[in-house]
Every structure is written in structure tokens, then in C-alpha cells.
Subunit: 224 residues, 6 copies
């Protein structure tokens, strides 16, 4: 059972990727019709960082990090590696040496449904990670997997070149062909929120702004 490396993938326009990163996970997830979100077990090792990039996907056997070396050769500036093991595994696939190599290729982040190690060094280097575990447990390089094939990572489907948006709330995947329309929907949402934020800050209630009182009464809500 050999693996496959797709060497040529399409990516979205850099300005749209950057804008999605600034919009953040909650807004992008809403703009996508509430799809694309990874499981809440996917957590950042750093705090207060919001980022976006093109997915270079990795399907790796449990406890085997060989394919990360293969994937690094495929990285472009601004890419984010997304790794899903083919069976549940919380071993430490990735540490400071691999991060050094990935950063030399212009990659700044890893999303992994498994463990990482050297987390203190990774924070110091400015390499961002979202993972489902932290573990010093080492891996082997014995079995091949694949790079840039469609994968399922922490419950979300990811195709190579999809846009990864990640912040303190988690990770959301935007299909590449929907990047522009998603960003438009996100921007409309951000614009609408700005006006509401001002009114809420002034003490107006959501009950009035969104005209909820009549519908609540119709549903049987009683005030005592």
C-alpha cells in the first residue's frame, strides 16, 4: 500500500486568505453556514493568535511522522500543514527541528489531530500549533502515507489548498472555491455587527434591537 504526493495544488488569493484570518473563526464559521469547524478538542498551544493559510494536507499512519518530511518539500510561503493520523494517536509527531525546517520554507503553523512536543521552543520560535494533544512520546519513520490528498481532521473535511482559519476558538476550514464568497459573507456579518455593537454598548437590549419580545410571548414565556 504505497502513498501519493500531489506536487501541484491550487491556492486561494493571498489577500482573501489574509482577510479570512482577520475575520476569525467564529465569523468565518457563520459565513460558511456553520460548517467546516473542527472538534473542540483541537486547541492552540499559544494564546491570542489569529491566522490563516493554504492547507497542505498530510495523511500519516499512527505514530509515524515520516510524511511530514515529505510534506515540507511541498510547502509554499504562507502554507499551513494539516495532519490527520489514520487511527487515533496522541504521540508527539512534531517538534522544534521540524518547525525549523518548515519555517525555512515559509510555513508558520501546523494543525494536527495528534500530539506535538517542544511546545515551549515552538512558542519561542513563533511557530503556531493547534493540536489535540501535547506529548513528548517519539514517533517512527517506517510506513508511507500521503501528502495533498483529501483528509478528515478532527471531524472536518480538508482538501489541499483549502483555507485554514485558526484562532483561540479553534480551527475552521473554508473550501478553496468558496473562499471569495465566504469572505464577502463574513464582511457583511462584520459590518452588521459593528452597528449592533455600538447600540448594545449604549445599553439597548437585544430583545428590542432584534424585536424578540412578541415571538417570546407567542412561545409561552411568562414574566413573574
Amino acid at each position: 500500500m504505497g502513498g501519493i504526493v500531489r506536487q501541484s495544488i491550487d491556492r486561494a488569493a493571498p489577500d482573501i486568505i489574509q482577510a479570512l484570518g482577520q475575520a476569525g473563526v467564529a465569523t468565518v464559521h457563520e459565513a460558511l453556514g456553520r460548517t467546516g469547524l473542527m472538534a473542540s478538542s483541537m486547541r492552540p498551544i499559544q494564546q491570542d493568535l489569529s491566522i490563516a493559510g493554504s492547507a497542505v494536507t498530510i495523511s500519516a499512519p499512527p505514530g509515524d511522522n515520516w510524511m511530514i518530511h515529505v510534506a515540507i518539500e511541498q510547502l509554499n510561503e504562507g502554507d499551513i500543514m494539516v495532519l490527520a493520523p489514520t487511527a487515533p494517536c496522541d504521540m508527539g509527531y512534531f517538534g522544534d527541528l521540524l518547525a525549523t525546517s518548515a519555517m525555512a520554507r515559509g510555513c508558520r503553523a501546523l494543525i494536527i489531530d495528534a500530539g506535538v512536543r517542544d511546545t515551549r521552543d515552538l512558542r519561542a520560535m513563533g511557530f503556531a500549533v493547534w493540536s489535540t494533544a501535547i506529548s513528548a512520546q517519539g514517533t517512527v519513520k517506517e510506513t508511507v502515507g500521503s501528502v495533498n490528498i483529501p483528509i478528515v481532521c478532527a471531524g472536518a473535511a480538508v482538501a489541499p489548498g483549502d483555507i485554514v482559519v485558526a484562532d483561540d476558538d479553534g480551527v475552521c476550514i473554508v473550501p478553496r472555491e468558496r473562499a471569495a464568497t465566504t469572505m464577502e459573507a463574513a464582511q457583511r456579518r462584520l459590518d452588521a455587527e459593528e452597528g449592533k455593537r455600538q447600540r448594545l454598548q449604549n445599553g439597548e437590549l437585544g430583545l428590542d434591537i432584534y424585536q424578540m419580545r412578541e415571538r417570546l410571548e407567542a412561545k409561552g414565556l411568562k414574566y413573574e
Copy 2:
């Protein structure tokens, strides 16, 4: 099945609430006879903050945050919202817009046995949260629940007006009618600890301060 909103609740005296917040969760929990503690899955999204306030309780259907809008109208300065879903749910009920509205009413914190989102913004705004999940997953506004009824949140019973004490160790609930006596017990405990802390700092052993040696021997402890 309509819900209920109790508009008038009793609250404890502000100076006692503030003193309980300064005493902290571990001390208050002891002063209460080791009751009132929420499950250890209830974790803060910020660090090194200790707080107390009067509970405005929310019973909400799973995945439905409509009642938070209703609860915000019931908030007084210094209140803390406490939300329990009626079935297990880790969706993101609460984000920066709702926090803006709650802060405009004088509320500074939320305790929720479910998820929140926009966590980076919430920390930047100074709105404190203890939750059992972080998730960008959105909720609906379709079904009514209740505000200011007794609830069970993360394993602890909470009545409206009870005092919520929360810090890095978790969340403890003080029944309103026991607030003053609990604070007295907490103060006695703090006073007693201060003397012990000094002696322990000087190198005296708990074995001697608490006269444990004889009882340990009676229980069969052997030194080799």
C-alpha cells in the same frame, strides 16, 4: 412548554460578596463544609482572576442561546450569569456581542456548563468566563427556557441570588442566606492560616504544628 422569568430576586450585601471573592474558592468551599463546588471540568478562559457576584440563573435548551438575551434585561451591577443547558452541549452560546450587552448592564462574568466563543476578544474586553468548552459552533433562538429559577450547573445547585465565587481553582456557589456566616467562617480560616503560614515558612513541620506523630504511629505508620 413555556418558560418563566423571575424579575425580582434577593441579593446578598455587596461588601460580603466582595469579601467572599477575595477569600477565593478553596477557602470559601471549606467554610461551606466542603459543599457547593462545581465539577473540575469548569475552567476559566483567563488566568489569575478572582471574582464574586450574585447569580442570575439561566436554564436553556441545548444549542439555543435565546434566553441569554432575556437574562441580560434582568441584570444588576455586579451580577454574574450562570447558564446550565437542559442537556449536555458544548456549542458556543456566548461571544463578544452578548458580552458587550451584558457589560453595559454592569455584569462582568459568565459561568456556563457549555461552550463560549470569541475568547480572545472576551479577554481583551475584561469580561471573565468560566466554561466547560470553547467552541465557535453557533446556536439558534427557537425555544424558550427560564431565567432566575433554581438550576444545577456542572453538578452544583444554584438558586438566583446565590453568591458565585470563581477563580483559577474553579467555581463555588454560596447559598444567599448563608453568605454572612460563610464569610465569618472563611475569615476565621484565613486568620488561622496566617499564623500557620508563618510557622511553616520558618521550617516548622505540619507533623509538629498539628501534633500528628502520635496518631500516625497509632494507625501503624512505620519509619525505616
Copy 3:
């Protein structure tokens, strides 16, 4: 069923202990042939700290912290307490008063397969903790356990005097008699990594540095 306290234990040389702490958990775990690692549920309450010390082991009944008082008398400068309950338990065995007493004896850290409390105070005091839970729930002093007997803590075997290495990646236990050889292997690893780090930073690929291309092809990896 009385317990036992071994009062005299052997410790490794201080300079080797210190060197292991600087090497860090991931490197030491590799140098040990990938053994000795505690479960990934063992997490620090502070960030960006790397430490090592000699283990003073504690076997304690669930929900009973009496033996910590007994263990504190056995502490030497530089020791680390390692506590395993005899049944799963996430109660708060340890807080700021016990930390004050332990620090007066020269101890700077606790590893515990259970809960701790007063975590904010512990961070402020500079007392380091790795635990599997945070909980304000109090414990009793009713049943004796043992101090300085071999224990299993979070899945790792620990003998008294073994070296505890702990950082953001978790906790690893080095058997005392293997301390020197483990540190030699760790140093060789650190030296080898330094050269590789430089080459990776310059953009060389692991595929070339480690001569992986031929073996990948033999295993059936295909490039498209």
C-alpha cells in the same frame, strides 16, 4: 494495613540532575529509549518552565493528603514530590500552606496524579506543579499511606531517588542508576541536533539530510 516511610534514599549527582532538566523532557525521553514518560493527562499549572529533581515518592489513599505532611520531613534541597493515589481521584490534595512548608525544606515542585488547589498562589510563590486535575475539593487526614516506596504515577514507574524531568511537554522519569548514561546519550542527541538545526534553517530538507528519498521510493511512495 499500616504504611512505611523510608527515611534514607540515594540521590543522583546534582550536576547531572541539573543537566537533565536543561535537556528537557523530549530529549531525555529519547535518550532513555522512549521509556519513562507519564501520560499526557499530566499537565503543568505554569508555562515555560523546565525543571529536574530527585523523587520523594508518596503513595496516598484517594482523598487523603496526610502523607504529604509526612513526606515533607523527608525532603532535601532540590527534591520533587511525586504523589500517586491508590485509586483514581481528582480532589485537591495540595495548596499554598503545604507549598510554603515544602519550600522551607528546599522543595520546588510537585508531580501529582490527582488535583491541586490555590493554583494562582502557587504560581505567585514560584512553586511548580504538574497535575492531572485542578480542584478546590478538600481532602481528609484519616488513613496512612507510604513515603519513598516504588509507585506507578500516571502510567510511569517511579522509585525514590529517581530523577524527575518536567517541562511544558509533560514529565519523564529517569531511573537513578541510569542518570549518568542517560545524560550522556541526551548530550550526544543535543549535539547532533545542533548541526541539523543549522542546515534545516538554511533550507536544506530532511529528505536530503537523512537520505530518505530512496527508502520512500522502495516503500512505494509515488509523486504526481
Copy 4:
């Protein structure tokens, strides 16, 4: 901190208790307005059994089963013991000797937010158990708790004399004063279901029986 034993509690009428047991957990939970359900971690050790009885509540320290002996003296024919530890604990509080004693008093079941042991013997004896763990780990008899006080068990509030309904789906608690009205609502539900079951068996669709087609279209559902 001594405990309390309430020796006299009110119970619901036996025929209503029996009828609730026959209705089963899902129906009773609906009849109660979807409240009173314990967490889904509460699982039976036997299969295909449906039961109901009056709650004799036990609040016990973690790892201490002394209060079960005290509770057994308070049992009447048809009672069910409901035990909540005061801190999370999965030790084995209960085995075949305690079951022998409880059965001699007319008790046929235990609901426990902790562990039990001798599960094979308990099944052979016909003593029913719903628990959150199975563990041979023994407990002590050192600290008093309380019997027949209000408790929170696996997330549900239980008062002494409340009706416990338990089957393969879990455990639901019916407040004693609402037993009769709940059973009436349950019966109406059962009667209504019977007619629907017949129509569904004949191949009619819920879409038509409940007239859902128009509302689905209004909500935007499209058929392709």
C-alpha cells in the same frame, strides 16, 4: 462536621410508582417537561430491566461507604438507594454483602454516581444497579455523611421520597409531589403513541401524520 439521618420520609402511592416504572424513562422524562434526567454516563450493569421505586438518598464522602450501612436501616419495601459522593470518585462502594443486606430489607436497586463491584454476583442475585463506574477498588468507613437529605446525583436533583425511574436508557427522577400528574401526562403520551405506532407500521409517513410538509417548505427545505 457531623451528618444527618432523616428517619421519616414521605413516599408516593405504590400503584403510581409501579405505573411510572412501566412507562419507562423516555416517556416519563417527556411527561416531566424534559427535566430530571441523569447524565448519560449513568449506565446499568444488567440489560432489559425497567424499574421504579422511592428514593432513599445518600450523601457520602469520596471513597467512604459507611453511610450505606446507615441507609439500609432506613429502607422500606420497594425503595431504591441513590448515592452521590461529595467529590468525583469511581471506587467500588457496593458489592454482594451490602446487596444481601439491602434485599433483606426489600430494596431491589441502587443508583450510584461512583463505582460498584461483584457485578456478576449482583446480576445473579437479581439486585439491579445503575452506576457511573465498575471497580473492585475498596472503600473505607471513616467519615460520616448524610441519609435522606436532598442531593445532586449525576446532574439530577434528588429529594428523599422522589420516584426513581430507571431502564436501559438511563435514570429519571420524578419529584414526589408531581408523581400523579406526571403519570397522567405519561399515560396520555402512551395512548397517543399507540395510535401513531399503528399508522406508522402501516407505512404512513410522519411527514403526513404530523403535517410537516408545509412547514419544512417554509423553512427553505428543497427537494432535488
Copy 5:
């Protein structure tokens, strides 16, 4: 955000579906190159049953079972419903009335990454279920989802018409277009196993049958 119902889907040939069910999950998963397996949290409510059928997929909002009614109209004889909620949810989406309706349409099983109820009745009716939870907690019918779109269920990608294979080991999904080749690979595997089973039963060792001794020695295995 309306939903979609695809009314016409392609299915694999019945004899191949039946053969896959007889081969069982472990064999089919191997024949697929070790892909398609759902997470091990997906467990059967019955024992010793092996089954296969064509997937009718359901994407449903958390806590909302409306789409199951819609899906039932789309069922053919031999289909299996596969439901994934759009956010984690362990509520009871499905019980005996829905099972009655589905069976009237020729459906015999449900795969659901959420909860079910009436489990005793479902076993008695012969309706098979694999779920990630058992819960009596009721759901609503307020928000539309989709039927027969591609979904991710318990970590596996499922397209409508794919073959679902389920037994005591879990659930595996065979892409429809690979059904025939997968069954051929499974049959080769079953044939090869039969010869090996005979030799192993006679006491021959895998070490000799698979000629492992030389390779083990080359990897450094030492006998003492």
C-alpha cells in the same frame, strides 16, 4: 439557510452488499487499505450482529431530529440511515416510533454520532443501532438540515449510496464505486486466512508461517 434533500441516489448491487456484511468490519476495513473506519466511540446497542446496507445520509442540527422524518420517505428496502449532527450532541434523536416507521419502509439499522433512546424496545423489534450515546433526552423539530448529502460521521466520510458495514467491532464505510473491488479483495483475504487458521490450529507458529525470524533478528531482537 435552507437544507437539501436528494431524492435519487445510486446503490450498489444487493449481492455485493450482502457479501460485505458477511465478511465483517475488520476484513472489509483491511480490504479498503485500512480506511473508512468510524471512531471506536461508535458502539452497538445489541450484540453478535453483523449487517450491511446502502447509506441514506442525514445532516442534522444538534438536538433536532426533524430530518429523520424527511429521510424515512427516501428509504428503500435494505437501506441504513447514517446521521451526523452538525455539532457534538449526545441527545436521544431516535426511539421506537421512528424505528417503527423506518422498518415499515424496509430499513433495519441506524448509525448515529449522537444518542438514541428506547434501546430495550429497539432490541426487541430487531432494529439495529450503532450510536455514540444512549440518552432519553428529547429533541426538537425546529431547524432543517439535509438528506443524502456527503457527511462526516464519527470521523469517517460517508456519501449517499456508500455501503455501511457494521458489527461488534464498529462501523466501516465502503465507497459505492469501490464496492465490487473491495469485496474481491475481502474474499482473497478470507480465503488466505482460512488456510492459515488451519495451520495455526495445528500449533504451527506465525513466526514460521510468515517467516519472521530472520527479520526480527535483523531488527535486533535478542532471546535470553
Copy 6:
């Protein structure tokens, strides 16, 4: 890093092993001073079976079942294999072919802190398993481990030749050199229980048999 296979291990006397199996896990665990118990996540795949045997231990890399083939050659009549992966792993290490081979060597059970598959076949063959997961996910044969070295399995230390006692309550390990004295203590316990069981069946209370009333009163228990 090669592995080691110890070919000659000492075993306890067959009649003592058999007697420990009949005494069962809860009794043996008590007789051992409440030590040796595996974590409660270790569960049987069959019901109502109690068994004991000599441990043949296996330390295996995560996701690699090669060492089971090596271990089978080391099995004697009545042995039980005990496998601990060197990192957490829930893949399916073991199925019906390996069971066929192990049974041909006289082995009747496996204890594994990982997954198994073909569970229906294993039950039909009469091969007993206690595992922490059920999963069809396949493993590789790439990396060597060790056989008959001391391991930690599900939190319990196991040396080769130790006695494994397993039933519906879990798994307990008796150190070989303590087998006889443990069985004596277990027998005393069984004898004492028999008399108590009779008295309890007759309706006598534990409160009286164990003379608890005075001590409960001294601890402050109040009857109302």
C-alpha cells in the same frame, strides 16, 4: 533499540492460580492490601466469566502487534498474555487468527491496554479478553518490542509469571512470590464473609454486626 525475549520464567503453583480465579478480583484485591488493580477502563468483551493465569508480558510499540507472534511461542498451558503499548493506542492489535494460534498453545485470555477486533468470533471461540478499546483498525509489524519484561499495564505493574485474576469487575495482578499468602488471606476473607452473608440475609443490620452505632455517634451523626 532492539528488544528482549526472556524465554524462561517462573510460574506459581496451578492449584493456587485456580483458587485465586475462583476467589475473584474484588476479594483478591482486598487480600493484597488493596493494590494491584488495573484502571477501571479495562473492560471484558464477554460477561460472567472469572479466570486466572500466569502473565506472559508484552511491551509493544503503539500500532505494532509483531511481538504477539513472538510471545505466542513463549506460552505455556494456562498462561494469560498481558500487553501494554509504549504509548497510548486504541488500535486493534488482536483478532481471531492470533487467538487461534494462542489457543493452540493452551492460552485462554488476553489483557491489553489497547484495542482488539473480531470480538464476536473471540466470544464464540471461548477466548477471553479484557481490553481498553474495541477497534477494527489494523496494526503493522515493523518495530520490535520485548516479551517477558516488567511492564505497567493500565496503571498496574506486571512482572512475567505474576498471577492475573480477571472477572466482570476488572483485572488484578498478584505478584508471584505473594501468591500463596494472598490466597490464604483471600480464603480467610471468604470464610468470614460467608457467616456475615447468612446473618445479613436474615435481616440483621451491618450497623449491629459490625458494632458501628457508637462510633457513628462519636463522629457526630445525628438521627432526626
